[in-house]
Symmetry: C2
Subunit: 113 residues, 2 copies
DNA sequence: CCTTTGATTAAGAAATAACTTAATTACCTA
DNA sequence: TAGGTAATTAAGTTATTTCTTAATCAAAGG
């Protein structure tokens, strides 16, 4: 989850995912769409792959990249459900937080006036 | 959108949103839940506020923070729709990308064998 | 009016992330 | 096997984040 959100924090990486949502592409085809160097794109691709957002397959000389939709959908939807639930069933992150929430040793803040 | 994803890339900031999904809290109450310094938390809060994910209101001495659900939901859902559409209506980011996509000056990669 | 409390701003140090060029690996083909 | 292309790894630099302490601002309250 940390890896997914970290991966999505880069505009270039989000663009790569958008490209791959239309078609499988080779590393070179992806790199050609950006003005940065090939190794830089390669590094972005490994961030995406480590986050489980893309998968690669070597075919001959070429490395083909494809989008892994499941992980993206599950992570973002899961987080949304967690933080903005429609009916509120306390899931993962906010649940553990709520459970362990230490009452702070602070003064009571005023109600509204 | 950049700001939203950038804000979500930090685990601490995601936790803050999770706290605020349960209740409105003052800056001090939020800071008390983390082991980092108060100014550090204050900076995280301004990242979240600049991204439009939280709103603050000063009441007396205290600054109360609350979650802004709309922006979170719209941004994440919008991006999901964009990259992982069920029916594929080409929206914002991937649409502009698809429109401007320069055919790379690459060799044709082999089909599969 | 002075002190305390909540919170943010300022300045600077330390850790991370991103990019570049050069080198390397792997595969293909004449 | 030599040469060329695709891609990644390595090494080093620059830029960006993130954190800390100290200082400042603002509201309460004796």
């Amino acid at each position: 989850m940390q890896r997914v959100f970290e991966a999505l924090s880069s505009s270039i990486r989000r663009q790569i995912l958008a490209y791959l949502s239309h078609a499988e592409l080779t590393a070179g085809e992806i790199a050609a769409r950006f003005s940065i160097s090939k190794p830089a794109v390669s590094q972005h691709l490994s961030v995406l792959e480590n986050a489980g957002l893309v998968a690669s397959e070597k075919r001959g000389q070429y490395v083909h990249y494809r989008l892994v939709e499941d992980n993206l959908v599950n992570t973002l939807n899961g987080y949304l459900q967690d933080v903005c639930p429609v009916s509120r069933p306390l899931k993962s992150e906010s649940a553990s937080i709520a459970a362990s929430a230490p009452r702070p040793p602070e003064d009571q803040p005023p109600a509204s006036t």
